[in-house]
């Protein structure tokens, strides 16, 4: 059974339908990508799952429970963590304090345990433990954002464009992290513009365009499609 089920989801901003009739599933232990051009509705879909917006129609089911319209902190307590677009780390807080905030919903003992785990997993952060997060480089910041999401030991992690704004070397780093998380058995739903890299690390992926899911399937299959670019950006007007 799927850990996450998105069923006929419609999300609106005022009168615009940013997402129409989207359907996706994520099984436990899978890494699923959501690729597509900017404005396709990928982030909106993720946001609706995470509880940032209430969908106008459709259902979201997490581990069998209907979580449609649940608030973000309720979703977090249910085991779903979000790494937001552009990271949104707290620059006034230190690396350690950022992580503690990520564990705000779990007890002190668990938090302490997760903190130790993060130290082990993220070497780059260890060196900056008590530095203000505003001084981190782009790559370190992205690692911090991911680590912060891991602090609540979630059942599933949503990631919104993790490679956005990063130099090529750091993009490698980020996808390397995604692969590492996959190796450790984490379940991920990742929105990405960098389709080629995403398809390399994901088990399955969905393609979204103009608010709709236009394709889906195992990554190898999608990567092999000759018309992927067209599905991605749309047919030209000629």
């Amino acid at each position: 059974m799927s850990l996450l089920e998105i069923d006929d989801l419609t999300v609106k901003y005022g009168s615009i339908s940013a997402v129409r009739g989207a359907a996706m599933t994520v099984a436990s232990g899978e890494v699923v990508g959501v690729i597509g051009p900017n404005g396709a509705g990928k982030s909106t879909t993720l946001g609706a799952v995470a509880g940032l917006r209430s969908p106008a129609a459709g259902r979201v089911r997490f581990d069998g429970t209907d979580v449609t319209g649940w608030s973000p902190d309720r979703m977090l307590r249910a085991g779903l963590a979000l790494v937001p677009e552009r990271r949104r780390i707290f620059v006034d807080l230190t690396v350690r304090e950022n992580l503690l905030v990520g564990g705000a919903t779990v007890g002190a003992a668990e938090r302490s345990r997760m903190l130790d785990e993060m130290v082990e997993l993220f070497g780059a952060l260890r060196a900056r433990w008590n530095t203000s997060a505003g001084y981190l480089s782009g790559g370190e910041a992205q690692q911090l954002a991911i680590a912060r999401a891991l602090m609540s030991n979630p059942r599933m992690i949503l990631m919104d464009e993790p490679s956005l704004g990063l130099a090529p070397v750091l993009v490698d780093l980020v996808f390397g992290l995604v692969e590492e998380l996959r190796r450790r058995g984490r379940t991920l739903l990742v929105v990405e513009q960098n389709a080629v890299r995403m398809l390399q690390v994901a088990d399955r992926a969905y393609v979204m365009r103009s608010g709709e899911v236009v394709a889906g399937g195992p990554s190898a299959q999608l990567a092999a499609r000759a018309d992927l670019f067209e599905a991605y950006v749309g047919r030209s007007a000629s």
Partner: protein, 295 residues
């Protein structure tokens, strides 16, 4: 030279009161984007409670915790009755709301408690001086500075080493992302008001010891100074608020000492002029917490 040291201590003593109030205002501003003009009512209410205790002929060391408690209770009450309704409103609305709350509370006071000024005895040791290395310093200033230093240290501990404090700072920086991390907005905002209440309460103890009177406008001037100090420091910055408070106290005392006799009454006026100039040329305050607008 000795004079300068005396004035510095005196200025820091005054500045301590401002710093505590300013910090409370900065904390509330951080989580709600609200400049709390009603903050002074905490002191006004405390003043009358102090007078009431005085009529019961209790010792001053009993007053202190009761005053702090009163300030906290008043702070929570004001948040619950008025400010909770305007969360997330534009700054214009927030400013006028706090202005309105200030007036209603002040008016309720005049109506139900007293329009009269009540005096009460200040503690005996207020006017004592002690000699340190040949310089005469007022015991009161030293006590104020010491207590404030302890309070600030405790606050720093709270803000940096407890989950509540870290959550508060996270919410003050980015409320939405903090909520995303599961931090509950109600708890954080109410916590901010409680913290501000404690700080204002401690400041109130010293203000009242210094003035010895309870009047409907007892809280107005300290509140104003606190707001100005928080603004000088840069509204988003808690450290800035504390620095602003001490700076304001020092400037006041030094000005007072240096102005020719006839001009003494204009000390406040000069301070306000300075504030106006500061905002003209550096609207973000001395220590800016920049938030760029996305185009």
């Amino acid at each position: 030279m000795t004079e300068l040291i005396q004035q510095t201590v005196d200025g820091l003593g005054r500045g301590s009161e401002y710093a505590l109030i300013a910090l409370g205002i900065a904390v509330i501003f951080g989580v709600m984007h609200l400049v709390n003009f009603a903050h002074g009512e905490l002191i006004t209410v405390s003043a009358y409670v102090a007078y009431f205790l005085f009529t019961l002929e209790l010792a001053w060391w009993v007053y202190a915790p009761v005053i702090v408690g009163t300030a906290v209770a008043t702070s929570i009450a004001i948040e619950f009755v008025a400010f909770r309704w305007v969360r997330g409103a534009p700054d214009f609305t927030m400013l006028l709301t706090s202005f309105g709350v200030h007036f209603v509370v002040a008016a309720l006071f005049v109506m139900f408690v007293s329009a009269n000024v009540r005096n009460f005895d200040r503690p005996d040791w207020i006017t004592n001086t002690i000699s340190v290395g040949g310089i005469n310093l007022e015991v009161f200033d030293l006590v104020t500075i010491a207590v404030t230093a302890i309070t600030l240290l405790a606050t720093v501990y709270l803000l940096q080493r407890t989950m509540f404090g870290i959550s508060l700072r996270a919410a003050a920086e980015d409320f939405d992302t903090a909520r995303l991390m599961g931090i509950r907005s109600n708890r954080v905002i109410r916590g901010a008001f409680v913290l501000a209440g404690v700080l204002a309460g401690i400041a109130a103890v010293f203000v009242l010891m210094r003035t010895g009177r309870a009047s409907p406008t007892a809280g107005l001037t300290p509140m104003l100074k606190g707001v100005l100090a928080a603004l000088i420091g840069g509204l988003g910055s808690m450290g800035g608020a504390v620095l602003g408070g001490f700076a304001l106290g020092l400037v006041e005392v030094l000005l007072l000492a240096r102005l020719p006799d006839g001009w003494v009454g204009l000390t406040n006026g000069i301070v306000f002029l300075g504030i106006a100039l500061l905002f003209t040329f550096r609207p973000q305050g001395l220590i800016s917490v920049g938030h760029a607008e996305r185009v």
